[in-house]
Amino acid sequence: MIKSIVKKGEYFDSVSLMIVGKDIALMDYVLDATVVMATQENKSILKTAGLYLDEFEEYDDTDLLIVVKSDHEEKLDEIFKNVDNLLIEIRNKKDDQGTFNPRSLETAIQIQPESNLALISLAGRYAGAEAMKALQKGLNVMLFSDNVSIETEIELKKYAVENNLLMMGPDCGTAIINGVPLAFSNAVHKGDIGIIAASGTGLQEVSSIISEEGFGISQAIGTGGRDIKEQVGGMMFISALDALKNDENTEVIVLVSKPPHPAVLKKINEKLKKISKPIVSVFLGANSNLIKESGAFAAETLEEAALLACAISSKVEISKVSKYLEERSKSYEKIVTNEVKKISSGRKYIRGLFSGGTLCDETQLILKNNSENIFSNRATDEKFALTDSWLSKEHTLVDLGEDEFTVGRLHPMMDFDLRNKRILQEARDEETAVILFDLVLGYGANIDPLNEILPIIIKAQKIAPDISFICSVTGTEQDPQNRSMIIQTLEKNGVIVMPSNAAAAEVVKLIIKKINK
């Protein structure tokens, strides 16, 4: 039976509720459970999940719904009591800090008058208005939230450009300002390389590699993925270019993005021509000639972009980068041979399970060069779009950070459950040859990823000892997680850990080539 309790006017943020929801689902006698604010979207999710009750109709955004499904009616009171305690715990954790938490942006600014950046991660429908308030108060904004309309984005960015403010996002997950990693970002060295990115994990990968190479970041500005679309017209991309152009601490500029709309690319190119600082661009999937026209160095992969920037920063001849990468590819021969030996005949497909969208895109591009059919829930070609994201088909690369997976759930960089289940699912598939995955470290990400994923990999290896496990770790030694320990432990457990996402894709490409000969 399904029973619910409604708490009118009790607001909790979605992450707190997901944590509580997860804990409830683990309670004895609970078949299914959820705790959500009674928004229209959440109500429709409840309907799909079979947890909807008619009485929910009268409640709205500011009311809290607690729904529990159980076969043990007599236990429900106790379960709800436990839920109450969990909610109180979370609330107290907030209140217990002794200091007063302002209820509004205005009051926050009164308390901290030198505030210069608002980090906004509210639900999309509230986020735009809050961002505008922050801009109007003279604050730069990092807008983490998605589901903000493009009209709102344009309005915000127009205002920001007119007032010389930074308007990162919506849907900007990563930025490093003055050396401080914000939201989902890595702890990097300070240095003279500035990054502008319309892609969060792309930015994480590039900045982490630069830092691990011993170089550093001056500023890493996220624009949000839609900035380079025609409607937004690259407003923030271009104003960030202006900013880095004039920033005395930036000597090299790296641009990271999907291919911008041609009109936007034209604008960017024109701007680039006026910048004398060296520029490296990685527009994943774009024809590199388009950008070369502006005098920028075009990289094919995130890693190459990072290494080019490092080379320029250290005044090393940049041709050394491609030589180095070529040499390295050759050295993969041994790894490939070993892995192929392990894979039984009949196993022929790659299954890539990503938490970073751009990492998924990059892998698609690298594998496509192999002229394979690669299916994905982020396929650039409709022909290769997965009809069901939950089921792999031939070669499949899935981004588990896409909406179909994250509705009512934390992002896979935080919550590994869904991907773990998928790893086991792929291991049980007799056609799976390679399981490829990313581990993204840094602030915002799960603090103990090894503990989440290692038991699953061991279990999957038991199910299918003849599958190859390949991964790359995006992050730095300074990140809150222990990067080198994670890599060593994975390697000890038979996982091939590559130094970059591109390198991992490269190895997979070679393996596939070999087993399908």
Binding site: R103, S121, E130, F144, N246
Partner: protein
């Protein structure tokens, strides 16, 4: 140009949303303030747009209203019998707390109080007779607020009852309130038995004339001054009136001794005031009323001039919307219940005493009164946070009522309905809870949030004025 300024500075972040982002920044030693964000009220965006567009007009009106509130000079100038002084008072009129109400929707304690008043007036001998009269249409009911009056809990006032007479010396308007009966079986909680009626008679026959003479002897008593001092002594003058009652006692006692010839009566009156920590409540409430009434009918203002409950409905009025009531359901408080009682026993919120919050006292001044927060199960820190949160929805700060702990900052004053709906934050009301059955009395106390509904309606009501 560009973001040069930001790049050159140390970043200081305001975090709105996920707490973990704030924690990460703190771990890195960065400066960050977290906003404890709540969604705005569920209100049509068009209404918000209208209010936004007219913000300048609203603010000008609000400045005027705030000025009137701050300039108010509430004095106790005398005592009298309701029929002599309360505007519109009639023999068959019963005033009650909260917004307008019909007999069929009257809650338990209110019903008891009305029946008690009818018996007190000598119009009926017992419950049945009184109930019949009340239901017959013979008696008419009207909110205290519409008669320059306020009343705690049921707030019932009938023609023969003695009342305090307050005058706002700055603006010349008056306000009235009955004399506090103390605790136990009292009319304001719906008791109507002999003990209750006898006490009311004693108030009429001994307490009233004695106090009347004493006040006359003193001329007038500056109540604003007493409240300002009481706030420095741990009162917020809604749920805690111990200091204010003591200060009033110090003022009135010599005058009583001076003016009352009967030693016996003198002792009884002084003991009665001394024995009732809430005696001053029936003065702090009309202070709010007489102060706020002067600020009525200021076009365009979004400031609340009355906020009250009748045990069935919660109602409010704005300075900018004339006599309109904006009404929603009164909720059963999630309070701390006295031993032996639970939420099941509680009546929905009742009384005009939230006039104290409306004028910047009570829940808005609770940081001055940590003792009362402890009484309802909170900490001193909670008290401070309640008051700090109320600055979010207040238009201004008080010039006389101050919080010592906040470095004598003025209390948040003038509830701005536009801020309430925008921030999704309703006023905290520091209140007592009545039993749902007549005459049982107080069963709990707590700091409650007012319901959002009436504020949404008030915002709509104000927005409609601009459409005209």
């Amino acid at each position: 140009m560009g973001f040069k300024k930001l790049f050159g500075e140390k970043i200081e972040v305001v975090n709105v949303g996920l707490d973990s982002f704030k924690d990460d920044l703190e771990k890195q030693g960065e400066k960050v303030v977290n906003v404890d964000w709540t969604p705005p009220a569920n209100i049509d965006d068009k209404i918000l747009q209208i209010l936004k567009k007219n913000k300048a007009k609203i603010d000008i009106a609000n400045e005027k209203v705030l000025e009137i509130i701050l300039n108010g000079k509430p004095y106790l100038v005398g005592l009298d019998i309701a029929r002599n002084v309360i505007p519109g008072m009639k023999e068959n009129l019963l005033l009650h707390s909260g917004p307008p109400l019909t007999w069929d929707r009257v809650c338990g304690p209110m019903k008891g109080a009305m029946i008690g008043a009818i018996i007190y007036e000598g119009r009926a001998k017992n419950f049945e007779e009184a109930e019949k009269l009340a239901a017959s249409g013979e008696f008419i009911f009207s909110p205290c607020h519409e008669h320059e009056t306020v009343g705690p809990m049921a707030g019932v006032v009938s023609a023969s009852m003695p009342v305090f007479v307050l005058k706002n010396e700055e603006y010349g308007n008056y306000a009235y309130c009955t004399l506090n009966e103390g605790l136990g079986k009292v009319l304001r909680y719906g008791a109507y038995d002999n003990e209750t009626i006898e006490r009311l008679k004693w108030i009429e026959n001994e307490l009233y004339p004695t106090l009347k003479n004493a006040v006359e002897y003193l001329g007038k008593i500056d109540l604003k001054n007493i409240i300002a001092q009481a706030l420095h002594m741990g009162d917020e003058v809604h749920n805690r009136n111990r200091a204010a009652t003591s200060l009033f006692y110090r003022t009135i006692a010599p005058a009583i001794v001076q003016t009352c010839d009967e030693k016996n009566v003198t002792a009884k009156v002084l003991n009665f005031i001394n024995g009732n920590d809430h005696f001053f409540l029936n003065l702090s409430m009309p202070v709010g009323k007489v102060t706020l009434d002067a600020a009525r009918n200021i076009d365009n203002s979004s400031i609340v001039v009355a906020m009250c409950r009748n045990g069935t409905d919660f109602g409010l009025q704005l300075a900018g919307t004339k006599d309109s009531w904006f009404v929603g359901e009164a909720l059963v408080p999630d309070a701390l219940y006295f031993p032996g009682f639970t939420k099941e026993d509680a009546n929905p919120d009742i009384g005009d005493s939230s006039i104290t919050e409306t004028v910047g006292l009570g829940g808005f001044a609770i940081a001055a009164s940590p003792a009362i927060v402890q009484f309802v199960g909170g900490t001193a820190n909670d008290a401070v946070n309640y008051t700090l949160a109320m600055y979010e929805i207040a238009f201004g700060e008080n010039n006389m009522y101050q919080i010592p702990y906040l470095n004598f900052r003025g209390t948040p004053t003038g509830i701005d309905v536009t801020k309430v709906v925008e921030k999704g934050l309703t006023p905290f009301i520091d209140t007592g809870v009545a039993h749902k059955d007549p005459g049982i009395g107080q069963v709990g106390a707590g700091v409650l949030s007012a319901p959002m509904d009436p504020f949404i309606k008030a915002a709509i009501g104000l927005a409609e004025q601009f459409k005209k």
